[in-house]
């Protein structure tokens, strides 16, 4: 399986996801510079976390307009798997590959902590290694993670099984939803389930020294589906 991680100016989880993916695949992962409009053949495109363009104006807005994104959109249309984590999720919504938008956290503060999320749909290439309803503990680290989508569109997404993960019961005495996302949504698919965006960072829960490995299943799912 070939995987490519896009590097935008200001990406800062590009190395993290590269390392985690390379471990899952057991082979190298390509890094693709945002200014390149060409990309080698690949089975998976990852948009990593970070603060591309400083998150200025709106998170992900400027990266969504970079040359490489035209290529990403074209590949996505051909059915190539695309995964956006945190800032990558923001870029995917800004680029129109996923519905909705990510607004500043309802608490208006950056939030970095572990959250519990529930797997809502395990019948996809991103989630086949999990059970539906399974609860995962994975860190979030973001300032703009409040998922928003128009109510009608949300209904459609529910009906189309496009909700990938929801924040669920968390630590004692704490709100489970760290950012005020509508309907506790932590991650969503496109209609075909070939594009996934999520706020939690699976690559930060992918080896024992992270204090948990619940994110590993997502990477393993991709490897088993795409290899």
């Amino acid at each position: 399986m070939k995987a490519s991680v896009i590097v935008f100016p200001g990406s800062n989880c590009d190395r993290d996801v590269q390392v985690a993916l390379a471990n899952a695949i057991g082979g190298p992962v390509d890094m693709v510079w945002h200014g390149d409009s060409e990309m080698a053949k690949t089975d998976l495109i990852v948009l990593p976390g970070g603060f591309s363009y400083g998150d200025y104006l709106r998170s992900g807005a400027m990266s969504a307009r970079s040359p490489v994104m035209r290529e990403v959109v074209a590949r996505a249309e051909q059915g190539v798997a695309v995964l956006g984590i945190c800032n990558g999720f923001q870029v995917l919504t800004e680029a129109g590959l996923l519905p909705g938008a990510l607004l500043p956290n309802a608490g208006l503060k950056f939030v970095c902590r572990d959250v519990q999320i529930r797997v809502e749909n395990s019948q996809t290439l991103f989630t086949n290694g999990y059970q539906a309803g399974q609860t995962l503990r994975i860190p979030v680290a973001h300032h703009d993670g409040q998922y928003f989508v128009e109510p009608d569109r949300l209904d459609e997404m529910q009906a189309g099984d496009q909700i990938a993960f929801r924040y669920c019961a968390g630590e004692e005495g704490r709100k489970n939803n760290p950012n005020g996302s509508i309907d506790d949504i932590a991650g969503v698919f496109n209609r075909r389930k070939t594009v996934l965006g999520l706020m939690p960072h699976p690559e930060r829960a992918a080896d024992a020294s992270h204090g948990g490995t619940d994110g590993q299943g997502l990477l393993n799912s991709l490897v088993s589906a795409l290899s």
Binding site: R58, M62, A101, L103, P104, G107, L108, Q146, F148, G180
Partner: protein, 81 residues
């Protein structure tokens, strides 16, 4: 020519910043403050001097970058030098 673009959240989109400002103003003892909304104001210096062309170009900038029309509205004002 100068352009001013006002980008604001659409009705129905939660504006946590506006809400927090309203709350804080009340805590500070400012009475009689109702709804508060926070938007962006982007000011651009343009080489273009024709108002029609300038507006069209700024509209394109808004659609392409300055606003996310899923959640935001924009309004453009032009000001000749």
């Amino acid at each position: 020519m100068k352009a001013r673009v006002h980008v604001s959240f659409k009705n129905g989109v939660l504006d946590p910043q506006g809400k927090a400002i309203g709350l804080t103003l009340a805590n500070l003892g400012f009475d009689g403050v109702g709804d508060v909304r926070q938007g962006k104001l982007i000011e651009l210096d343009l080489a273009e001097s024709d108002p029609g062309a300038a507006r069209k170009s700024v509209e394109a900038m808004c659609e392409k970058l300055l606003a996310n029309t899923v959640i935001e509205n924009y309004a453009i004002e032009l000001e000749e030098d």
